[in-house]
């Protein structure tokens, strides 16, 4: 049970406090309700570029990192399709430094042209490092637009094309800031040896005077129902063939979300899972295979990804995967259900063993509607039945709901 207190400032900032007296380190997590799904299709990658700019100095403080490091702090951030999340760990005694820095950049950035120019270059190198200079690195650049034709999940967080980053300008940066970065579009959580009263005082002092803003209303295109299978084949200089199959699935708040997540666990969580045992060990068709959900807030994807053994043709590999998925529609043993539930409980519990993990998760569940969902997750997964698994499998695993990428090795 993770206990917490919750209050909202007049400007709309939601604040969560979790008390943990076991450590001298406090964690501060600040989640902004903006991600790459909120981008202009001609400026993809912008939310992530913006995350970099948040470290380029704010209106009253020329540098962000240096004062934090002077307070023995460490920080980082990440951007997903749905959110942009900033976090700090520092000695509890220096907690106010975190409030000072985070509130000033929520108040306003410095909007420096120099910072924009340098970070454009840094982000282009990040694009190169992660997506172009790695074997199989461009898979998501290919798979997303295959699966999505309308919804902005069709581009990855890094963006469709580095040119979008290069073309962006300072006016767009300002506009993005004032449309999305606002106390009424953010959730703050402090976790550590703190009291709610002291956090209330600090929150009022540093964030209280920041005005609410007109946050751009989210009005995203709805992905039309897919009606026929899509297949894309590409050839790259990699050593082995790989196959990726993406199925549309429900959104994060749908009652079937936990069921769908558990289906991916039955298929590939752990060495005893179905796909590994059947397709890697028994049939020796793949050298590795994985099934997972993208975990997005809007309707996401259920993905099966496998690397083919030499001399296994794509159609054999693909057929074998579809056969495994079909089997899920027929029966699931009760021990198998118990196993994935136990594993979920274990993974979830191990994921909440320090102050930072707790602060991040509390913010995310609060965004979904209620931070207390964190305490209901294990029960929610425990209540899924074998019938649910078979029912959802029957709905999702249809050829006409699939987008398939054949990633061919050049020299095979």
């Amino acid at each position: 049970m993770i206990e917490f207190d919750r209050f909202t400032l007049n400007n709309g900032l939601k604040v969560l406090v979790h008390h943990d007296s076991s450590t001298p380190i406090a964690s501060v997590n600040l989640l902004y309700n903006v991600g790459s799904r909120d981008e202009d299709p001609n400026r993809t990658g912008f939310a992530h570029l913006f995350e970099h700019l948040m470290f380029g100095g704010s209106v009253n403080i020329p540098t962000y990192d240096e004062p934090l490091e002077r307070a023995s702090g460490e920080n980082n951030a990440f951007t997903t399709s749905d959110i942009t999340n900033y976090y700090i760990t520092l000695p509890k005694d220096n907690l106010e430094t975190a409030f000072w820095l985070e509130s000033d950049r929520m108040l306003s950035l410095d909007f420096s042209q120099r910072s924009l120019d340098v970070q454009k270059s840094v982000v282009v190198e990040e694009f190169n490092q992660r997506y172009l200079n790695q074997p199989y690195g461009d898979v998501w650049l290919l798979l997303r637009p295959l699966a999505y034709k309308a919804h902005p999940y069709q581009w990855p967080t890094i963006g469709k094309d580095p040119q979008h980053i290069i073309d962006s300008n300072l006016d767009e940066v300002k506009d993005f800031f004032f449309s999305h970065y606002a106390p009424n579009n953010a959730i703050l959580c402090i976790s550590g040896n703190v009291t709610t009263d002291e956090i209330r005082v600090l929150a009022e002092k540093w964030f209280g005077a920041i005005p609410s803003r007109n946050v751009k209303k989210r009005n995203l295109p709805i992905e039309p129902r897919q009606t026929e299978q899509r297949v894309l084949e590409v050839t790259r200089k990699v050593p082995f063939n790989s196959i990726y199959i993406a199925f549309h699935m429900c959104n994060r708040m749908h009652p079937y979300y936990s069921t769908t997540d558990m289906i991916s666990d039955i298929l590939s969580n752990g060495k005893s899972s179905r796909l590994f045992q059947s397709l890697v060990k028994d049939k020796e068709l793949f050298s590795n295979i994985d099934a997972y959900i993208t975990g997005d807030i809007d309707e996401g994807l259920f993905v099966v990804a496998g690397r083919l053994n030499n001399n296994v043709p794509f159609d054999t590999a693909q057929e074998a995967i579809f056969q495994e998925l079909s089997d899920l529609k027929k029966s699931v043993a009760s021990t198998e259900m118990d196993k994935v539930k136990n594993r979920f409980e274990s993974t979830f519990t191990f994921g909440l063993t320090n102050t930072l993990e707790k602060a991040m998760n509390l913010c995310y569940f609060e965004l979904l509607g209620d931070a207390n969902m964190i305490n209901q997750m294990v029960m929610q997964y425990r209540s899924v039945t074998a019938d649910d698994i078979m029912g959802v499998s029957s709905q999702i695993f249809l050829p006409e709901n699939s987008s398939i990428l054949h990633y061919k090795a050049e020299n095979l």
């Binding site: 076991s22 450590t23 380190i25 209106v59 009253n60 403080i61 990192d65 004062p67 490091e69 002077r70 023995s72 702090g73 460490e74 760990t89 000695p91 005694d93 220096n94 430094t97 000072w100 000033d104 108040l107 340098v118 970070q119 270059s121 840094v122 982000v123 282009v124 190198e125 190169n128 490092q129 200079n133 790695q134 074997p135 199989y136 005077a209 990699v238 050593p239 082995f240 752990g270 060495k271 005893s272 890697v280 060990k281 020796e284 050298s287 590795n288 690397r307 053994n309 021990t335 118990d338 196993k339 136990n342 979920f344 274990s346 993974t347 191990f350 909440l352 063993t353 320090n354 102050t355």
Partner: protein, 434 residues
């Protein structure tokens, strides 16, 4: 009115209480370290053997013998074993580095009795079935071939080879062909020689107490088992290669991987704490000189870092980055410029104070939560034979080191002719000197 230009006051941690593990010797002589921390019902058992790759007679022998422990015993098949651990939601992680082999079991406390039972069986009675071995080799070969497509892997391997020499255990790497040549018998030999109570330390962490300790005694601590006489290898002399530069061509790579550094020393060396401060200034944190210059001012890279990595008998200093192919030469020039600055110019008191504050926070973060504490104590065990004074000494040096001392250390260890430079990418850069 709040003046936002003024930073709130901060305090510099002036003493750090390093959590210690309770040390006991189990009835059979196995050393047990216990760290009881945390509220959630989770625990971790780490089993450390002196059984790293330096003890092997053939490439992959140590890794195969350890990784394939879970692939079958007299009583259970590979599938039954994985079903068992998965059913209890337990995670088993096996890693083998140059010096040590480590088996980590993460389990909900309520299932520890069951999970230890199977752990004991796989550690003591593996049979290494032929079919599982062949599959492991085939998969491992494929994974390695994918790894070797990365410029970062190519540059790393070249660097270790050039620093330690290909004959030295710290400089040798398995090749894809090595996977065609792993026999069942050598796994059994390795197991018989190195896996046993005489060669084991156990670290138990999480929400743990007497019942968990009793379980460990039952399975691993009552009587002697396994390999009986183990000779822990001494330091191996290295045949230093002459090559100070290497270039590995990777056609069409859009980025170049750069590794620059040298062999250093292990953690008990008197220069180690000072070197840690120096390394932080150069490339050990986000505000470091390399990061500021090469990322935050020039935008040549997504990231550039430097490390000092300790081994049991030695250590390493390494600068590591991936840069846009067109920026390779400028980046090398800037790296050498920054190293040269450390040698010639005392660091300002202000910059040094910043680095000291940051490092003290890092030490605190190393002890944030039961498993972080366990990891820190395991690293003490690996590199200092559990001398907790290491942290006191480190803390004292961080507080008192002067700019003059840092220049001295830089001069002593970073003269240009001792640095090794390894590059993997599409275009070989022009020579650059400093």
């Amino acid at each position: 009115m709040l003046d936002r230009t003024i930073a709130p006051p901060t305090v510099l941690t002036d003493s750090i209480t390093i959590p210690r593990a309770d040390l006991t010797n189990l009835p059979n002589g196995v050393k047990l370290l216990v760290i009881n921390e945390g509220e959630e019902d989770v625990c971790r058992v780490d089993m450390v053997f002196n059984a790293g790759s330096r003890y092997q007679k053939k490439n992959l022998q140590a890794r195969a013998a350890l990784t394939l422990l879970t692939e079958g015993t007299e009583n259970h098949t590979s599938k039954q074993i994985s079903e068992y651990f998965d059913f209890y939601g337990a995670f088993l992680n096996i890693s083998v580095d140059k010096d040590f082999a480590r088996i980590t079991l993460s389990s909900l406390g309520k299932h520890l009795g069951n999970t230890l039972e199977m752990l004991s069986e796989v550690i003591k009675q593996p049979i290494y079935p032929e079919r599982e071995l062949q599959q492991w080799c085939k998969r491992g070969r494929q994974e390695l071939m994918v790894e070797l497509e990365k410029t970062s892997t190519l540059a790393n391997q070249a660097f270790f080879r050039n620093v330690f020499g290909e004959q030295h255990p710290y400089g040798v790497f398995a090749t894809p062909d090595d996977y065609n040549n792993v026999q069942q018998q050598i796994l059994k030999d390795f197991h018989t020689s190195f896996i046993g109570s005489n060669n084991l330390t156990i670290i138990l962490s999480g929400k743990v107490g007497a019942p968990e300790i009793d379980l460990l005694i039952k399975h691993f601590g009552s009587s002697k088992w396994g390999a009986n006489s183990i000779e822990v290898l001494n330091e191996i002399a290295k045949s230093k290669p002459d090559l100070s530069k290497a270039f590995v061509e990777k056609p069409n790579a859009v980025q170049t991987a750069i590794r620059i550094g040298r062999e250093l020393f292990h953690r008990s060396h008197p220069d180690y704490p000072g070197m840690l401060v120096l390394n932080t200034i150069l490339g050990g944190y986000f505000g470091s000189r390399l990061m500021r210059n090469i990322r935050e001012e020039k935008g040549y890279t997504y990231g550039i870092n430097s490390f000092i990595a300790p081994f049991r008998d030695s250590g390493l200093f390494m600068i590591s980055t991936e840069v846009g192919a067109a920026y390779t030469e400028q980046t090398l020039k800037e790296i050498y410029y920054e190293i040269n600055r450390l040698i010639t110019e005392p660091v300002s008191h202000d910059e040094l104070l910043l680095v000291k504050s940051y490092l003290m926070g890092e030490i605190l973060r190393n002890f944030n939560g039961a498993f972080a504490i366990a990891d820190s104590i395991i690293s003490l065990l690996y590199y200092n034979e559990l001398k907790y004074s290491y942290y006191d000494n480190l803390f004292k040096t961080i507080k008192t080191i002067t700019p003059k001392k840092i220049v001295e250390i830089a001069n002593k260890w970073f003269q240009s002719n001792v640095l090794v430079e390894c590059i993997a990418g599409s275009v070989k850069p022009q020579e650059s000197e400093y």
